[in-house]
């Protein structure tokens, strides 16, 4: 699958280059070279995605390179390919995006192809470290989902009225791939988001709904509950009903977010709340948020971030399960999927030592409710750049 997409991207890029002269092709790039380490962990490593899961100092987890080619094909049509190579993926080159755009008028642009999934407010540029002041976007919300692109169409719109600036985005498409090694698919993804800005403040929000399918139930759900099912003495109908209550495949995934930003007299405040789950299944409702306060001092920006991630154990999905052993088995499975509750505090310093590169350092310390994890802390130093 990955190979096919890469070939398509190369084909597209070649097509673009052969149709347009070199001067018509815009090349832009971004990258991060960052090293860091988890320095102190009470128990076992919290295993946050791409965040120093080994004991050693590493350059690999958070370093990445991206290059984007776009070509104006005339009459409002353009083609864009963005290739990325992430250290966390062994720097394998991947076509992050490959799409064509058509500017309908000055308010609306329609895009088609492989596009970024706007799961949360900053998801579309989550790899571009230079675009924000953090060493990394807060993990509690920007978890590093595999589902960060989709194949489909999007409509970007922007409106200016008096002092207000409104942007909206509508998407439709599909995604398939592996989530933690399990074959998965998001079908009929529909999403909408909006952002309203005036002077120094912005408010934003969005939602995305999709049908989730995949091998998760045969790979995880059934093996986890089979012991309880066998011991329950329940009828075939009861077991079928129980399994269909807790299963995730065939259910809807719902992602929602909202928040605000302030950038006033060099003070910066950012808040974002996100909530997502596979509905009507054993999957936990994930609730996460961050609040950050920053201050610019000429070319330096100092930011303090508090973030919180929690998973609710909600047994309502088991309300029709009467067999006590199935009920207990279901509850312990729900609990197992809702095991992570944590907070992280971090302080970040950004130094724009040129207009195209920023040196950033951060120190973070967190606390994970799981007894085997407990408190943890770490740091990173790196350079984010664009070219």
């Amino acid at each position: 699958m990955k190979k096919t997409i890469l070939s398509t991207a190369i084909l597209l890029a070649t097509a673009v280059t052969s149709q347009a002269s070199a001067a018509d092709i815009q090349m832009n790039g971004f990258g991060s070279v960052r090293f860091g380490q988890m320095v102190d962990v009470d128990g076992v490593n919290p295993m946050l995605p791409d965040l120093y899961n080994d004991d050693d100092l590493t350059f690999k987890d958070e370093s990445l390179f991206g290059i984007q080619f776009s070509s104006d094909l005339g009459d409002g049509l353009s083609a864009t390919v963005q290739l990325t190579a992430e250290g966390s993926n062994d720097f394998d080159v991947e076509a992050h995006w490959a799409y064509i755009s058509y500017q309908i008028n000055e308010n609306h642009t329609v895009n088609a192809g492989r596009l970024a999934t706007p799961l949360f407010n900053q998801s579309e540029y989550e790899l571009v470290g230079f675009a924000h002041n953090y060493a990394r976007l807060p993990k509690s919300v920007y978890w590093g989902f595999d589902f960060n692109t989709f194949e489909g169409v999007s409509l970007d719109s922007q409106y200016t009225f008096e002092d207000y600036f409104l942007t909206t985005k509508l998407i439709y498409g599909n995604w398939d791939g592996d989530i933690e090694g399990i074959n998965s698919e998001f079908k009929n993804i529909v999403g909408a988001n909006a952002s309203l800005n005036r002077d120094w403040w912005t408010v934003f929000g969005g939602a995305l709904l999709s049908e989730f399918e995949g091998d998760i139930d045969s790979a995880l759900t059934i093996p986890s509950v089979i012991g309880g099912v066998n011991a329950s003495g329940a009828t075939g109908a009861e077991i079928d009903s129980f399994l269909s209550s807790i299963s995730q495949s065939g259910k809807d995934g719902l992602y929602m977010y909202g928040g605000f930003k302030v950038d006033h007299h060099d003070w910066l405040i950012d808040y974002e709340y996100a909530q997502y789950e596979i509905q009507d299944s054993a999957d936990a409702k994930n609730k996460s948020w961050y609040l950050s306060l920053g201050r610019r001092f000429n070319e330096y920006t100092v930011t303090y971030v508090h973030e919180d991630y929690s998973q609710d154990s909600d047994y309502s999905v088991l309300s029709s399960v009467e067999n006590p052993i199935l009920q207990a088995t279901g509850q312990s499975f729900v609990d197992a999927l809702a095991a992570r509750n944590m907070t992280i505090d971090s302080i970040h310093v950004r130094w724009d030592f040129t207009s195209s590169a920023a040196l950033k350092a951060d120190y973070f310390f967190g606390s994970d409710d799981r007894v085997e994890v407990g408190d943890f802390s770490g740091f990173s130093v790196g350079v984010d750049f664009i070219f």
Partner: protein, 139 residues
Amino acid sequence: MKKIFKNLTIALTCAVSFSAFADVSVIVHPNNNTEISKDDVSRIFLGRMKSFSNGNEAVPVSQEEGSPVRTEFNEKVLSKSDAQLKAYWSKLVFTGKGTPPKQVMSDAEIIKLISQNPSMVGYVDSASVDSSVKQVLKF
């Protein structure tokens, strides 16, 4: 080498002191009679507005990075430092939502371009403005 360094230092000092006192003029084609406010200029240069208030297409032209007049314009009109402006555009460029204004090398080049194209709007050091273009705002 030492001499070159000294000359460079003098040139740099001049550039710095010059930039501190220079005014920035926003210029359009002489036939462009549209009303244009500071907010309009800011919106056009941030990719938020693509036409003048009279409905005609507006194409912003910027100066090369590192030029004192660019820094002055970014700070006075867009209220952003050079790095902040780059971070702003990186969000748009890498999400396919916008492209920064075309950049040209000098005041002379920008004046020449604008004198030939009624859609364009640009900014130059006020001392460079001549009769081939119309100054609409000065900061």
